[in-house]
């Protein structure tokens, strides 16, 4: 192993950590050697945690849907991860972080370490391009995979792959550029630390657009419009998924420092306080409504709290985090019920959790940011201005994600049809799309008795 390290480092144009106290060069920038090593390690560890959220999404989505579509959910998550990684490497990263105009980046395609100058918007972080890329790539995959749950149990697999590619190549990177990549929203002062809106609401509203075109699952609504719950097939897996996502958020939020900053402690605390508050709130609200402790809503509540705090995790106090969590916990319950009323079928609650609570969290930051929020700013006018910017950011990004996805999905629906046939839907996508069953051995043929 050893020889290779030195080799690699030279090849890639980096300096190894030489003697302590010297400056190194990373992607051409001068940084104290030990700092950039530490920053890089931290960003990679955070990226690994965010990567694992793919597993969390896969479990939540399959746990909340039926056994006959479990293979399909797994395949969708495997493939959107693969497609997302490669297309973000080819195009997405350049469009999002590449130097360009106020609307999208135009340089830095096919990411490689010698393209340092291509990503002016990342010059603030000391980590090498490749570390920044891996962290951002798993974010992009997250945005894409949010859609998977909302369109579950009825979309064609091939269509889903196209949507995945579109999200990681264009939809997510463009609005991402506005906020984080040197675009107009960032310049305006829009604040979304780890992506309540830039990641989650984009995923959530892209999902809404896809669901509107796709229509509800067969059997979801009675002819009189009443919603019929279709319970998920594996609650323990769904819960494991939520706990994995919660864990992943300790990479998602604190990792968005992209530096080994001591503020990560504070960010982790606000993150987990909001999640805790939201899961308790969602639990209490449904308990008041039905006198039962609803596991599905509690799980959605925890995720809602995580999405809600993502924008403000670094900027709010502990109390602020609790407030965001409580509001997110209330909002997610009524949002899920409202979508049912509106005959919008989202099997896992992705639109409510990521879309609605992403928006809510970003707007709440306008009030609760402990330096510029309405409740904290020295001059209220400044606070209101900040809130206004938040609103502009939310509206423009959500509008972009929704409209762009809607148009894209409409076109492919016209060309290829989005949905499987009714018969395929009854059989389950595992059979029709994958020729497989998730739990084959619960068939008689292989059963173990003697």
């Amino acid at each position: 192993m050893k020889k290779h390290i030195v080799l690699t480092v030279l090849i890639l144009g980096w300096f190894a950590l030489p003697a302590f106290g010297l400056e190194g060069k990373i992607d051409g920038k001068a940084v104290p050697a030990i700092n950039y090593a530490l920053d890089t390690i931290w960003v990679l560890v955070a990226a690994v945690l965010v990567f694992f959220m793919q597993a969390g999404f896969a479990l939540v989505e399959s746990g909340f849907t039926r056994a006959k579509n479990a293979v399909n959910i797994m395949m969708k998550n495997m493939i959107d991860l693969s497609v997302g990684t490669i297309s973000f490497w080819l195009f997405g990263f350049a469009i999002m972080f590449g130097t360009g105009n106020a609307f999208f980046g135009t340089s830095g395609f096919f990411v490689s370490a010698d393209q340092v100058d291509a990503y002016a918007s990342l010059s603030w972080t000391s980590v090498p391009v490749m570390a920044a890329f891996i962290f951002q790539a798993v974010f992009a995959a997250t945005a894409a995979t949010i859609i998977s749950g909302a369109v579950a149990e009825r979309i064609k697999f091939s269509i889903y792959m196209m949507i995945s590619a579109a999200v990681t190549i264009v939809i997510y990177p463009v609005s991402g550029h506005w906020g984080w990549g040197g675009g107009w929203l960032g310049d305006l002062g829009f604040s979304d630390f780890a992506g309540s809106t830039i990641v989650h609401a984009v995923g959530g509203f892209a999902a809404l657009a896809a669901v509107l075109v796709l229509g509800p699952r067969k059997g979801k609504f009675r002819s009189n419009g009443e919603a019929i719950p279709i319970p998920g097939h594996n609650i323990p897996l769904a819960t494991l998924g939520v706990l994995i996502l919660w864990m992943g958020w300790f990479g998602f939020n604190p990792g968005s420092t992209m530096a080994a900053d001591v503020s990560v402690g504070h960010i982790a605390v606000t993150t987990t306080l909001s999640a805790s508050a939201a899961s308790l709130t969602a639990f209490f609200v449904t308990f008041l409504l039905y006198k039962k402790a609803d596991v599905g809503m509690t799980l959605n509540g925890a995720l809602a709290g995580l999405v809600g705090i993502t924008a403000g995790c670094a900027g709010v106090t502990g109390v602020g985090a609790l407030i965001i969590g409580i509001i997110s916990g209330v909002v997610v319950v009524f949002s899920v019920l409202a979508l049912d009323k509106m005959k919008i079928d989202d099997p896992v609650g992705a639109i409510s959790v990521h879309g609605v609570c992403g928006v809510v969290g970003t707007l709440l930051l306008g009030f609760l940011d402990s330096s510029s929020g309405v409740f904290y700013a020295e001059k209220t006018a400044d606070g209101l201005l900040f809130l206004g910017v938040q609103a502009v950011g939310v509206v423009s990004i959500v509008a972009w994600a929704f409209i762009a996805t809607f148009i894209f999905v409409k076109i492919i629906d016209t060309l290829f049809k989005l949905r499987v046939t009714e018969e395929e839907e009854f059989q389950g996508l595992d059979f029709s799309e994958h020729g497989a069953s998730a739990y084959a051995d619960f068939n008689i043929r292989q059963s173990g008795g003697f």
Binding site: P229, P231, Y290, D294, G296, M297, N300, V333, V336, D340
Partner: protein
């Protein structure tokens, strides 16, 4: 020979098996079923919405027995399975023409 099919509450199975065993009923076959009857099911809750579950989990016990034993078996099942609450279940008795023991090829009552 008769076939006795008893549809019972699942948690009574163990006790019924023991009771039948004590009276020397040496074979039975059981399976999980779902029942629909006067016991109207229940509501469940899923992500903030309630819905009706009509089918209640039950266990079906099938015993093929000589005609003479039927009455005793039925009484035993009633005695053990009865809780007095709706959903206790039903017993169906129907004719059987022949029984074969696969291992030996024995037929009829000696095969029970």
């Amino acid at each position: 020979m008769k076939k006795i099919e008893a549809i019972i509450k699942p948690f009574k199975l163990e006790a019924i098996k023991d009771a039948l065993n004590d009276m020397n009923v040496l074979g039975m076959t059981v399976m999980e079923v779902k029942g629909f009857g006067q016991q109207k099911g229940h509501t469940e809750l899923y992500r903030g919405a309630e819905y009706q579950i009509n089918f209640v989990p039950k266990v079906k016990v099938e015993i093929v027995a000589a005609e003479d034993n039927v009455e005793l078996i039925v009484e035993t099942i009633i005695r053990i399975a009865k809780t007095g609450k709706v959903g206790d279940g039903k017993i169906f008795i129907s004719p059987v023409d022949d029984v074969v023991r696969i291992r030996t090829g024995e037929r009829s009552s000696s095969a029970i």
